[in-house]
Amino acid sequence: MTVQATAVRQMPPTPAAAPQTAGTAIDCRGITVRFTTERGTVTALQDVDLQVAAGSFITLLGPSGCGKSTLLRVVADLIEPTAGSLTVLGDKPSVARERRDIGFVFQDAALLPWRTALQNVTLPLEVGGGDKRPGNRDPRELLALVGLAGWEDAYPHELSGGMRQRVAIARALVSGPKLLMMDEPFGALDEITRDRLNEELLDVWAKTGVTILFVTHSIYEAAFLGQQVLLLAARPGRVRELVPVTLPEPRRLPVRETVEFVQLAGHLRRVLETC
């Protein structure tokens, strides 16, 4: 076990490659999103306020239909909010997106099947004027960082689900984003692979200093990864509670066997049952 004696929160080590480490990464105020369909209007998010400090790791937890994924998409400028104001790294989300400050990891990896692992990681450098950005990283180094050295020329159908998500993470990091949006990236994986990727994600987070918003259905994943767990309630999607996680860092899997962790998970479960 690698439980630290100190209870003081530690910020992750921040390398020189990520200058944006202080201040607020995301500032949502009164974000409301409504969708109109033939069955009527759905309020996916209602009056969501959220401030995320640069370099932090926030997990989003809530029942289906609570708007977790919608919130991620609003921040990444994939969905326009119906009401409310939002700044990402001090600018409008579209500006941050065009600066390549936002990386997105999707639920099903969304690799392009006609491209090899390396070509998938290289994609962001080929489109949207992504080739000449100062923050760009070497795709081969990133594949090595996610533990896929030697798999550069494999096609997605030759990779396991876990390996595909590793490629997707490398692809999201290649433009050197300051924000990483992760939409249930490990939801379809078996538990052992998921645990392993959880630990490795914390390593990647520590090495890159990126701010992470991570959507999950798993209480344990939310508690293990997050510095804070944002609990959302459904219908309409709204913030239920922002739970600070005081587990020591850096975290390794055995921390899940500590009393603190079990109590935290119990608290999250009780709140979740009322959402």
């Binding site: 969304a110 006609w114 030697g150």
Partner: protein
């Protein structure tokens, strides 16, 4: 570090034990399966030809009703020059029609995907034209385009057009929505989305259509030659039928089918080369 995250060689070391005999047995079995897949169709065709020959001999069927396969082979050898002179125009018509029909279908599918209005206006028109039987289209096109190769090329093109239009439209449109979201996050331009996502995504659909078109283009050219043509496989079929020269009729059909199969083979080969990533999933 996980086993699956290591280099292929290193990762495999833990998962596989070294059993040379079992490996050899496995490879021998794979070779056996491959040869079976190659030989069985040949055996089946040879068997059917033998059955055909045996029936003609046993029931003493008159040559003008159904010729013996021996007579057909003899005709192919004796009239090889005649058959090839007539295959040439048919092949040219089929290939040009194939190119014309598919290029038109690809361009129109692209327009459909770019502009929904175009699809809503013109897709029903395409469906209506497609419902007209080829034998009914042929005389109309002969009247419009004259007696040369043009109407045959047009018929071959029309017959290729529809399957490719439908498949290509679907291939360009049915893109993984998360791939489109990814391109939006990357601030990709519309042309980047089109060429890097949509076109690539459409290729398996396109090749399915091209394989259908390869054989139907030949049918289109032959049907076109039935009406007012003096050379070509279709014309030869008509002449041989009217002359009760059934060995020549069968020989002509065999030559036409062989060309059709070769055309299909070329497209299949191209698909294997171009869609390496899709190998194994291709139908």
């Amino acid at each position: 570090m996980s086993d699956q995250a290591m280099a292929p060689g290193a990762g495999l070391a833990g998962a596989f034990t070294d059993d040379k005999a079992a490996q050899a047995r496995y490879l021998a079995h794979q070779r056996h399966l491959l040869w079976r897949k190659r030989i069985l169709p040949i055996v089946a065709i040879a068997g059917l030809i033998f059955l055909w020959w045996a029936s003609v001999e046993a029931f003493d069927i008159k040559p003008f009703i159904a010729p013996s396969p021996v007579a057909v082979v003899q005709t192919i050898i004796a009239k090889f020059g005649l058959l090839m002179t007539n295959l040439l125009p048919t092949a040219i018509e089929a290939i040009l029609g194939f190119i014309l029909g598919n290029v038109a279908a690809i361009l129109i599918a692209t327009a459909f995907v770019q502009k929904k209005t175009m699809e809503e206006a013109f897709f029903p028109v395409a469906v209506m034209i497609n419902t007209i039987p080829v034998v009914a289209k042929a005389p109309i096109l002969v009247l419009l385009l004259g007696n040369g190769m043009e109407p045959k090329i047009a018929i071959a093109a029309l017959i290729c057009f529809f399957p490719t239009l439908v498949n290509m439209t679907r291939g360009l449109r049915d893109v993984n929505p998360q791939a489109l979201e990814l391109m939006k996050v990357l601030s990709a331009s519309q042309s980047e989305i089109f060429f890097k996502i949509r076109v690539q995504n459409s290729l398996p659909y396109l090749f399915s259509a091209l394989k259908i078109a390869a054989s139907t283009a030949v049918i289109g050219a032959i049907v076109g030659e039935w009406i007012g043509s003096t050379n070509g496989i279709g014309a030869l079929i008509i002449q041989a039928t009217y002359n009760f020269d059934s060995p020549l009729l069968y020989a002509t059909i065999a030559v036409g089918s062989t060309f059709s199969a070769a055309f299909f083979g070329v497209i299949t080969y191209a698909e294997r080369r171009i869609l390496k990533w899709n190998v194994g999933r291709a139908v």
